[in-house]
């Protein structure tokens, strides 16, 4: 088996907000590992803590955040030293494509200068070399190389997202984090960007963490899937086995909630809402929305239990495992 590049162990993030510093637990103990060249999809509804999780991997949390756990890069923890130990790895080891990539570029500077600035100082590249590489990168993502001298507003949304991808590859990272990289783009462009992302990660042997709420997209693109709910991972496993045999009711619910080409199946909506982040969760966080919850679910938090090879779920009834197809949610 290959060595894991990135390993996250029991990651917890708490924000202290308000004048009295009310703690809000956003990430409540997340662990996963990422192998060289592996593609992991991190899936959940908005507010489940998935964005916070990957921002933590970059060390980009605001000062009112408290973090514990471990983030190991090649087996060495980079979290404990805080900002000081994390900054050297940004962009050189772990790079990121943001959700709001439309605004990821500074509007007053050219695309090229924003791609080269990380190669110059720390990368130690000469001006000429950096500029040449910036052009190569733009070429790789399918942007005419002369666009390096353009300002962000002169590029279309899709172009800017490609340029953001080129920028993320500037320092040859080994891990790429992509936070909803295709929201705010139209469907055709979305498909192109996803295809580009797949091709580049494969070509460059990059490990990818794709954060999204689009479960089918992940199943299609990623090797493994991690389902996140209320700050915790509730099911992890190979994409294929997650699709074929979802163990957690939440996963099944998300599958049911996506439109499908099967004419005999109709789209189910997700009843209820996730628990509020500022409240203590007793028992299983999903229990109030779960159609098969029993008394134990409301009193006792389920532990992650391994079922099959690599496939694990945090549900008291995970071993009952069934496919997502027969699920009857609230049907329109």
């Amino acid at each position: 088996m290959t060595e894991s590049v990135l390993e996250v162990a029991d990651l917890r993030v708490t924000f202290r907000t308000g004048p009295r510093g009310t703690p809000v637990d956003v990430v409540r103990g997340v662990s996963f590992r990422l192998d060289q060249g592996e593609r992991l999809g991190l899936v959940g509804e908005s507010g489940c803590g998935k964005s916070t999780t990957i921002l933590t991997l970059m060390g980009l949390l605001p000062p009112n955040a408290e973090v514990s756990g471990a983030i190991r890069l090649d087996g060495v923890d980079i979290l404990q030293g805080g900002e000081r130990s994390m900054r050297p790895h940004r962009w050189t080891d772990i790079a990121m494509v943001f959700q709001g990539a439309m605004n990821a570029f500074n509007p007053t500077r050219t695309i090229g200068s924003q791609i080269t600035e990380t190669m110059r100082g720390r990368g130690g590249a000469s001006r000429k070399a950096a500029q040449a590489r910036a052009r190569d990168l733009l070429g790789m993502v399918g942007i005419p190389t002369d666009r390096a001298d353009r300002y962000p507003h002169e590029l279309s949304g899709g172009m800017r997202q490609r340029a953001a991808l080129a920028m993320a590859l500037a320092n040859q990272p080994r891990v790429l984090l992509a936070d909803e990289p295709t929201t705010a783009l139209d469907v055709m462009i979305q498909a192109q960007i996803m295809e580009l992302l797949e091709r580049l990660t494969a070509e460059l042997g990059l490990a990818l963490v794709l954060v999204t709420h689009d479960l089918p997209l992940v199943v299609e693109t990623c090797d493994r899937v991690a389902m996140m709910y209320a700050g915790r991972l509730v099911e992890t496993g190979p994409a294929a086995s997650l699709y074929a045999a979802s163990a957690h009711p939440y996963t099944r619910m998300l599958f049911a909630a996506t439109p499908s080409l099967d004419l005999d199946r109709r789209v189910a909506s997700l009843p209820g809402a996730p628990p509020r982040v500022d409240q203590e969760v007793v028992g299983c966080a999903f229990a109030p929305r779960c159609d098969r919850a029993e008394t134990v679910c409301h009193t006792q938090a389920p532990r992650m239990t391994r079922m099959a090879d690599q496939h694990a779920a945090a549900c008291h009834f995970a071993d009952v495992g069934e496919t997502h197809q027969p699920l009857r949610g609230v049907v329109h």
Binding site: M58, L60, R87, R90, N103, F105, P107, T118, Y151, A164
Partner: protein
Amino acid sequence: MKQSRYVLRRVWAALLTTYVAVTFNFLLLRLMPGDPTSRLARVPNGTEETREALVRQFGLDQPLWRQYLDYLRELSHGNLGISYTDQQPVMSQLLDALRTTVPMVALGTVTAIVLGLAFGVLAAWWRGHAVEKGSTFISMFFYALPTQWLGLMLILIFSVMLGWLPSAGMHDPGLTAARDIGVSLPAGAQLRDTAIHLILPSMTLALVLFGEYTLVVRSALLETFGEDFVLTARAKGLRPRVVLLRHALRNALLPVVTLVALSIGFIAGGSILIETVFSWPGIGLLSYDAIQARDYPMIQGTFLVITVSVVFCNLIADLLYARLDPRITT
């Protein structure tokens, strides 16, 4: 240039504003309630003769449109009329006064911008910390000072009590007298003398201005800190300080340029108060004296010069904005 349309639009707007100000200037004396001749004749020690001279000079016996055309024609030749008080052409006095005002105002404004940037950056950087609270309080304090009062207090402290700096004028009377009777002065003595006289007036302006600039720079920076590209810049592993200087500050300067431009009108008002307090012989003092003497041609002239200067400075700021922001294309 793609920006040429923007430039043209701004120049056009500036011309329009100037034209409206010119017309306003014309109408003000004629459309105010009451008989313009009697108001105009309310000149201290005005005789019947001066009254008639005024009526003729302003063409008040002509129909309004006729007066307006005459006014515009004279103006286009740079003729702003003759001052009542010393019978000199208004224009030439204005030009002399402008030459004394500009260095004082420029020194004060530039100092204020430098201080405002420094304090504003500090305040934003140390958000939530005592440094921010201290520097915002200091800026609010100086923002709250009445200009003329600060000037008087500085004179009391530095001239009357400590005797370090001269309190009024721009030349030492002794030095001027010596030059007038033919004493040859060492080179640079006069320049040094003027520089010493310049300190208090321009520092008064700098102090009353910098507070507002600090507050503006601070909030513009804090707004920029929330932008996505700042997060991206941090993700790229740039040091926070580099992100601040290379990415955030540059963008925060955009609103700052606009707001500094809008404060130019305040600077003009401030220069009137400051020049009055320090007897600095510029446009401001000229307009104060004109108001006291109800010297209407001079009042109009100073108002026009001040307004045109302010409009011109605003135009410069607009063009600077276009240089800083590549997004401006239309």
